[in-house]
């Protein structure tokens, strides 16, 4: 989108320069336009908006950092706090809890990216999947199921009340992280932040060759396109960052993070056949 805009501006700049130099259209020249002042004010405006967008991106990344830690903690608590007779990683109830945990991470990624999670929930019991199909918020329903399984362990006497409280607290932390992500997802930047920078940058880029053409003549397209590129790039950066869960090259790398959590948790269960890590593609991590 930005490159198309830039292409049209280049054509506009060339036509202004050609009309001024070869067709004597001197009325096109507006040398007294306060371009420097306008550019300064516009920069401040764009930087302010980009800061707000980056804050959202960074908060999303921080929340998913907390998700990595909390998922690992939950897995560790299931494997070390629940009373078992044999090996904890072979206990079917503990395995189910840990598998639900990494399935939850995948489901939350899909929920935030508005993607269908069910093809990824293949390792869960068919009964659980059927129950989840009726849910509007699948990850929250999964937390509830995990809570019910932990309650069953408590009822069976495999957890005392103190350890039950600890695990329940971890589930609440998952809920808090999800709430934070949903807040970012559900609250877009104010409309003015999207609309005004685009209009102001466009107006500035159109005025730019008019203010320069008297002095720079045929070199006008070179200078004005370069300056326009800077402003359009600044605006595009802000737009790319403002939704960190939009499944694009610039969003939070949820695919990579959720895969890492899955590898960690499956390793905790003693599995050897693990999926590969997600690596950057052309410098972008998804």
């Amino acid at each position: 989108m930005a490159s198309r805009r830039l292409g049209w501006l280049l054509l506009f700049d060339i036509s202004i320069a050609v009309a001024y130099v070869f067709l004597d259209a001197e009325w096109l020249s507006l040398p007294h336009l306060p371009l420097a002042m306008m550019g300064g004010a516009l920069s401040i405006f764009l930087v302010f908006r980009n800061n707000s967008a980056y804050d959202r991106w960074w908060e999303a990344r921080t929340l998913w950092g907390a998700m990595v830690n909390t998922a690992r903690t939950f897995s560790r608590q299931c494997l070390t706090l629940v009373d078992v007779k044999g090996e904890a990683a072979q206990d079917p109830e503990i395995r189910e809890l840990v598998e639900l945990q990494y399935a939850y991470v995948h489901a939350l990624r899909c929920h935030l990216r508005r993607q269908n999670p069910f093809p990824e929930l293949t390792q869960l019991e068919p009964g659980i999947v059927e129950r989840l199909r009726d849910e509007r918020n699948v990850p929250i329903a999964m937390i509830l199921i995990m809570g019910e399984l932990v309650r069953d362990l408590y009822a069976k006497g495999r957890l005392d009340s103190f350890r039950f409280t600890q695990i329940d607290r971890t589930l609440s932390a998952l809920c808090d992280i999800q709430g934070g992500c949903e807040r970012i997802k559900g609250t877009p930047l104010p409309r003015q932040y999207e609309y005004l920078p685009r209009v102001l940058v466009s107006v500035y880029c159109v005025l730019l060759p008019l203010g320069q053409v008297a002095g720079m003549r045929l070199l006008t397209p070179l200078a004005s396109t370069l300056v326009a590129f800077i402003f359009i790039a600044l605006e595009a950066i802000g737009r790319d960052l403002e939704d960190p869960f939009e499944l694009s090259a610039h969003d939070t790398p949820l695919g990579s993070l959720s895969r890492m959590i899955e590898i960690n948790l499956r390793q905790n269960l003693g599995e050897r056949d693990l999926p590969t890590e997600v690596r950057p593609i052309d410098g972008f991590v998804y």
Partner: protein, 305 residues
Amino acid sequence: MLNHKSYEVVFLTDFSDACFRATRAVAQLVDELDLGLTLLYARNKETESRQAAEDKLRSFFPEADRYRACRRIVADTDVVSAVAELREHRRFDLAIAPVPDRFALPRVFHKSIRGRLLKELGMNVWTIGRGVKVAKLGPAAKSVACVIDGGAGHDKHIEAAVAYAQRRNATLHVLHVMPEVDEGALFMPSGLLSEAAVAERFERVAVGEAPRVELHVSTGGRVGELWRLINACDVDVMFVDERRAMSGGSFSSYVSKLVDMASCPTVCVGKDGLGLEMEVGKKTRALKVVAKEASVAASTEFSFA
């Protein structure tokens, strides 16, 4: 699971942003159709090693590893030849080919990969353009459109649209734009020039019972009017005839422009059809004809036997 047989889909990726956006829709298709998915990347042998290409492909759409059947293939030839080669050993019902990210200037002599897939291989192609809305890629389709124009065609796209609408219990919008005729016209335009003619064409092909069918007939510029109708009907997926879908030469067809502007994905259906079968039910269908001025409110209902 919507279909009786397993579907085989090849997803052509160049790791563009559009390919990542399309993964949402693929996840939905996997859930609906129980897809066998092949991810295909054609590397440039001159600039990229096989190992680097395989690493990139392994990291693309990582969640697909958890799907029932997913293969990842790096090809050393161009993408259309690679698909042709794969088809010698395996049937593919659909190719997923999102539009590449491109720079500002039009590529006059560029041959569209989608166009080549349609023309040279006769494949069904699922695609999105630059105007696609992200919200249209994730959820299940509730509103399906089928574009009928006046030209001769195999009309397999009508069958596919009816069958898909049946399976999704979605509303089917039949879209048609008539050319404007005035007293200054030198030639009488050809094609379907009345609502009844469009309805008759639809009836002839669509023997199955779609849950709700709405016929939208308008006049004016084809691309602009179809684009308006798609937005007015809030279409989630659109089916078009492959023969008018993509041009392989220098000038784009009207459907090619429409695909680029449309807010929803487009399925270009080839002469062999999409492989979805219509459920033949009762013979009477209520076809709701929606006038141009009243795309929401006033409408006339006809019954066809």
